[in-house]
Subunit: 341 residues, 4 copies
């Protein structure tokens, strides 16, 4: 029998830290779990006696001063919602020195001492420059469905998108089986094949085409042919949008030309992959990383992304998170192939 579950850390443990007011924004493509992260950032900051300011529309709102004080109740009942209550937007102005200067003045005017940014590599690239220019403490929370950030095992939104893909492919398989068709299904992932590869394994697909590997049309053809010869009557191939051989439509028409006997179909899953209520994993991850971001700031960290590696919180310099490449687990490729025989 160990310590009491209801005991709590001391709310005043960071009373000597000079950061009193913390802003939070979301930027870049939205991802399920961003709201859970906003909730965690807000509530843990309030827990430690800090004030929280929500910035709407990402960096654009930082320039246009779309600020709003956030109380605990303002983040009630959002843990289960997709999208982001703080909205997201692109900002060309923030790419200029003048834009960032204006943003900085706005933060100063409101006595904001630090910033949490939730987003992907574009978001962190902006954060890194801003932090350097104005010596301003920023911590990032990885929020992107692509899971392509180095230094964290998972990004917020990835698990939800993966499940959305798998559920969609399950539905398509009903039709593929009934009509004995060959389906090419395009999923998100411009530079990274995490969604396609893991989605392919989980959905029991016959093959995946991902940006990390050269797509050899000949091998794909042999593979499909063999399957058909072995009496496999329907097949599903997941194609990452950034695949080198072109998108699902282009690959499908190549196959169709060569094998007119196959009944080929294409579905591009599109924007459904970005939305929806976050999975349990994404909500827990968002909760942990949101708390970790506030603790990192109060622990005097800056220009780092908080991440999770081997179930432990880690701090990864923005520079590394952006520039290093995170690679797909090659063991999974073998698993996929063995299981699709």
């Amino acid at each position: 029998m160990k310590e009491n579950i209801l005991s709590m850390p001391a709310p005043d443990m960071y009373s000597d830290c000079r950061i009193k007011k913390i802003a939070v924004l979301t930027s870049g493509g939205d991802a399920p779990g961003m709201n859970a992260a906003i909730r965690a950032v807000t509530r843990s900051a309030i827990y430690f006696g800090r004030e929280v300011v929500g910035i709407y529309y990402g960096y654009k709102g930082m320039i246009n001063k779309n600020f709003q004080i956030m109380k605990s109740g303002d983040v009630s009942n959002i843990i289960q919602s997709g999208g982001t209550i703080l909205k997201s937007a692109r900002s060309k102005e923030f790419m200029t020195k003048e834009g960032r200067e204006k943003a900085y003045q706005n933060l100063k005017e409101e006595n904001i001492d630090a910033l949490v940014v939730i987003g992907g590599d574009g978001t962190f690239t902006g954060a890194r420059i801003f932090a350097q220019e104005f010596n301003f403490p920023i911590v990032g929370v990885p929020g992107t469905i692509d899971n392509d950030l180095f230094g964290t095992d998972f990004t917020v939104g990835y698990d939800t998108a993966l499940n959305t893909i798998v559920q969609a492919v399950d539905k398509i398989r009903d039709t593929a089986t009934a009509h004995e068709r060959l389906f090419f299904i395009e999923v998100m992932g411009r530079d990274a094949g995490f969604l396609a590869l893991n989605g392919g394994i989980a959905a029991g697909s016959e093959a995946v085409l991902i940006p990390e590997f050269e797509t050899d049309m000949g091998t794909l053809e042999t593979y499909i042919e063999t399957g058909y010869r072995k009496n496999k009557k329907s097949s599903i191939v997941l194609v990452a949008e950034g695949d080198k051989a072109g998108g699902a439509f282009s690959i499908a028409s190549k196959i169709e030309r060569e094998y007119p006997q196959y009944d080929v179909r294409v579905t591009v899953l599109g924007h459904v992959q970005r939305g929806g209520s976050p999975t349990a994993s994404d909500r827990i991850l968002a909760g942990r990383l949101g708390v970790a971001a506030i603790e990192a700031l109060l622990d005097d960290q800056k220009s780092v992304m908080v991440g999770i590696e081997f179930d432990e919180i880690v701090h990864v310099p923005f520079n590394k998170a952006i520039k290093n490449e995170k690679s797909v687990n090659q063991h999974l490729l073998r698993v996929l192939r063995m299981l699709s025989i």
Copy 2:
């Protein structure tokens, strides 16, 4: 306190009917609930002491004699599955007199006395010709996601597809709201706007474009403009694939040209709309219509589709089900527009 819930109709009530062996097939595009219908046909026929033969691959399998005896246990645990365990296929051969003659001989050889076909208007067109040519009793169960069959309030599969669409649009709305975008979402419906119109109301979309009505681009533009002026920041327009103004991509690019200030996106939902576990409504409908199809045959009916109108079973001649046009409820258009202000 009324009759006992556990009492049953007499299994021998049709003992004088000469139909002893009944075949069942699915044909055309698959729809969720087809398996529940196969189960209902099979079990109610067995209940009334009949033998059941499953025909695989629709009319093609009738020609190729892909027959299999179906027992009650063969349709266990399929009520919840999308697709069709009997598969579906197109058959050019069945469009010829020779093909149909061959199919008829196969039925005779196996002593099959009657047939239940589950599908849409293509299926019933084939059934009607075959029934006339060989004076063979056939009853149809309406199974198509499009809900475009005259004489039945609902077709098996429609409610599931509608819910799939609404759940997908809910997800896309998360993104549309976060980024304040204008989305055009294309849904199935080559000739009928049931999915787009009802999906549009249920998803809270701003407008729908359906084949039944002329799409006036000017009005659509005015409408979107007004919304934006009234501070509506994201909009969703559902486009039936058979809309007269072209698909979602074509309409979106027209709008984009005229209004470069809008952030326009397109998603084509595609084949996910056909699959998935059927909703409660679709399963109940499939169950009722499957039983009704067997009762109709045993009641000496032929060349009819069984349907549901005002919660009652009806028999609709194939000829009427195919040729008469079922119209969308115009009242719903008003509801949609009022609710999107």
Copy 3:
């Protein structure tokens, strides 16, 4: 090619009606789709140039004056949410003349001319008395998962609860099949068996026990025995909470005593049945009935529930909606039994 889909009814068509300000509340047990109904009431009233006031906590809030002006934007993004943004509560005070007097004064003070109440029979009973006492126009929207209101084919929330039940039973069947168990699953329905009966058909259950019929334990036992003798290895029985033979636990223990060889389990689905994102059907129904409620008031109706019968809007006096009994479709009992052989 018919009238343009984007044309609209005249917003000033009710300009001569003296009702200018309309309040809306939800009361009784919450049901999925109540928010969609609030949205429809609010927006259609605004469309016709009326002001809308939301009353929080049902009749209690009417007494405590928890009023708030509702704009179109206040009901954005709620169509997909379960529960009710206007909250619900029981009010003993409203059962007294004094309480209702106070409520009436509050409405007068705010110049509220009419009221829409969304709820079940308890809600309409209160509305009927209030309307008579103060000659105040009230229209009701049927919102309850039980579907037990006379005069409407469906109530808002019923279809969602039905699907929640079916999805839960699907999950339990995975376990029942794996372990070859006999499951008794209790679902909501104190006086009405709609959920149990329709849920039972849709989930492919072996039997249902509902309040409308005497449960003959002997027949149930024979039935289960027969199933087992025919090699049915797992069975699922749905029990409405109001079943005359007692709840699921009580029935299960009777069976267990008699048949120790069965591996019996019980699950009481409980409050999960009330929540969740409404289905497409429930959202469309809520939309149509919300608009119809406003039109009824502007058409000078009072003390009626708006309902849907045979896909048409109907007006049912509160008195009839409450007192007449809506009966389950007995044909469905036959369907259930035939399909569980």
Copy 4:
């Protein structure tokens, strides 16, 4: 650009291993993903040129010789199904020396050289004894929703059960919020609080009560009181079934007695937690562990559970997997409490 994604490991790499025929069974409580594991075991064994035998009903079927040869096609289209196609059962006979002797003879008669068992600690306890007694190679795949096996970060079925819980609590929260109630929700976990604790964080619950920690009713009461004083109007407490203070009903009635002003409700989620289509994570985990189990056998391992730690395959002696205690992440308790302020 790295190696070709479509290249494969050599199917004959284990040609010198004497294990030619491998049996697989599932035992104990079923868990979502067991079918995906059966598929992976079967296909990877076939890939490496081995024969596969499915044993029905766990150890009971090993004694009763419920054996069946499994081909690749026999595990098609099961990756998405809950439950287990090989069924599960308890066997008292297997707890006796005679029973196990009989089982061993059956394996020998069929020339089965090795066994994969999918289940939890009960399953592995039986496997360990059997393996020792007959010097028979057995490898285990952790399949249990409780996640309570030492030596693996996750067990197959846990992620699905967690998501089922979170979706159920989301629905209940709709009602809790609408009526401003205090809900106690009981989830599975006789000895382990993984589901309750992680479910509580993901669902945004106010507190969790788990077996690993003493439940101090005083602190719980203070906590709830404080919440109410801070104007929190509805609360959700997750209770693991094995909590020391008793189940949800018992705790709820204590609270109700002390605080009659709270509107308290209880829901016991029950068997829905065991079923359902597995999540992406559970399918991928099942796929990896199924392959790993076959590779372990062919690599001459025995009496080990294959697990996943830090995203790598590990081999854990049965003895350790069963006897060592896996502890919940205490950091998560802090996160839960901070986020529920």
